[in-house]
């Protein structure tokens, strides 16, 4: 059974992470996002999150577009075909789940906000997702109970954010010419097709044709960094 020290010890950090993730979700939903929920090992958790957002338990709250990725489906292939830039991908999984790792690293190329909920002494590497909401327990049933609390609170707090429309406006466009974020320093992209020294890649801004002669020949599905029309590294 859940030890109190575990449940309450996580509460402070989890609460801060939940607050930030909720505001991000509210901003994305306000801008038209769909939330894609996946949990390869615990599909019932993904279903629960999706039904929570689509069919609110409190009458009068907005129904929000949330979908479960079918548990038997290829997660990367399904999401690649389905997500639009600005969408949300939320997963519940262990830190070493290869399907989830492969999905999350594509987030920047697809232009989606990623949320990773999980448990255990091992956390995802820094930067593995935009939001990591983690509890330390390695006891599966403790973790399962805490997950239910976490996604219930995620829903509750997201709806609180809707009461603050001023905070849900998109971030102002950056116009600073030397801004690293907006410059063409190295934008993540996913290779769609390869044609000799050129490739068509997917970025949050759409598809573009780039030069891949500076890197080893990439394959469709590979991630590359694009700078000034050239792929400069692959991962």
């Amino acid at each position: 059974m859940v030890a109190e020290h575990t449940a309450m010890g996580d509460a402070g950090r989890v609460a801060d992470d939940l607050a930030r993730a909720s505001l991000a979700l509210a901003r994305r939903f306000s801008a038209g996002a769909t939330m894609w929920c996946a949990s390869p090992e615990w599909p019932f958790h993904a279903h629960h999150v999706a039904v929570e957002f689509v069919h609110p338990v409190i009458v009068g709250k907005r129904a929000l577009p949330a979908v479960t990725v079918p548990p038997a489906a290829d997660m990367v292939a399904t999401l690649r075909a389905s997500v639009n830039p600005g969408d949300i991908v939320l997963v519940l999984a262990d830190a070493d789940d290869p399907r989830v790792l492969d999905t999350m690293r594509r987030g920047p190329a697809w232009g989606v906000e990623t949320v990773w909920i999980g448990a255990g002494p091992q956390r995802p590497a820094p930067g593995a997702a935009d939001h990591v909401i983690w509890v330390d327990t390695d006891v599966p049933l403790e973790a399962s109970e805490l997950f239910v609390r976490i996604y219930h609170l995620l829903w509750e707090l997201t709806h609180v954010c809707f009461e603050h429309p001023g905070l849900l406006k998109p971030e102002p466009e950056c116009t600073d010419e030397v801004c690293i974020t907006c410059s063409d320093e190295g934008r993540p992209a996913e290779v769609v097709t390869v044609d000799g020294d050129e490739a068509v890649v997917r970025t949050p801004d759409g598809q573009e044709r780039i030069d891949v002669s500076l890197i080893d020949a990439p394959a469709p599905g590979d991630l590359v960094l694009v700078h000034a029309g050239f792929a400069i590294t692959s991962s």
Binding site: V2, A11, A19, R149
Partner: protein, 223 residues
């Protein structure tokens, strides 16, 4: 959200720009609810301690006699039904060196979309679970339904059918237990999480489900 915190936000009309105050308030609210959920969980488990043991003993008897567990619920409770079936059939590995848990036959009646839509479309949604029990049920089986209100019509129909067949009926309800806990209900063992919040109810129901599973494992005769 029941709390009215509007007065804290003078910029509610849409020109609010600093999110730090909101983030702090959200985190505080989350911590409070987390604590509230924890307290309800503890109270729920201690109120139902004796009933958990009695129900586990009855369930273990059914399993030992070849019975199967059928779970059902609607919406979030359907996902609880799925989680419980998953737990019984694919129990987690315990601590290293400890005894392994036994896998037990269990199935969620809400999981097969072909069956659910066929029954919902052809005979009505109130019969989606009871019709499956007519097809599958045997006297040694166990019917376990989840509802936060305790009032779902399709659950009551399923419990009535299960009871008619001699199955053990277990209800995991909330609020005041509703029809599931009422006089004359076909639910033999009804657990009620006393709260008005659907979310807090489901969180404590998860704890009850886990405690009941652990108690069943503890009293099962050796394989």
């Amino acid at each position: 959200m029941p709390e009215t915190t509007d007065f804290l936000y003078p910029f509610i009309e849409g020109d609010e720009t600093d999110s730090e105050e909101l983030l702090e308030d959200l985190a505080r609210s989350a911590q409070g609810k987390w604590r509230q959920s924890w307290k309800l969980r503890e109270a729920t488990l201690s109120q139902h301690e004796g009933q958990l043991q009695a129900t586990a003993a009855a369930m273990a008897e059914r399993f030992a006699a070849g019975g199967r567990l059928f779970t059902f619920g609607n919406g979030g409770s359907a996902t609880d039904a799925e989680a419980v079936a998953h737990l019984y059939t694919q129990p987690p590995a315990g601590p290293a060196g400890g005894p392994a848990s036994r896998a037990l036959p269990a199935r969620s009646l809400a999981e097969d979309q072909a069956v659910m839509t066929a029954l919902g479309n052809d005979v009505g949604f109130e019969l989606v679970f009871s019709r499956q029990l007519i097809a599958h049920g045997r006297p040694h089986d166990i019917a376990m339904g989840f509802s936060t209100s305790g009032n779902s019509d399709n659950l009551m129909r399923a419990f009535a059918e299960a009871s008619k067949q001699g199955m053990l009926t277990v209800g995991i309800a909330g609020t005041d237990g509703g029809r599931m806990a009422a006089e004359g209900s076909p639910v033999e063992q009804c657990f009620v999480v006393r709260s008005d919040s659907v979310h807090r109810i489901q969180e404590s129901q998860a704890a009850l489900n886990h405690a009941l599973w652990a108690a069943v494992q503890a009293v099962l005769p050796a394989a």
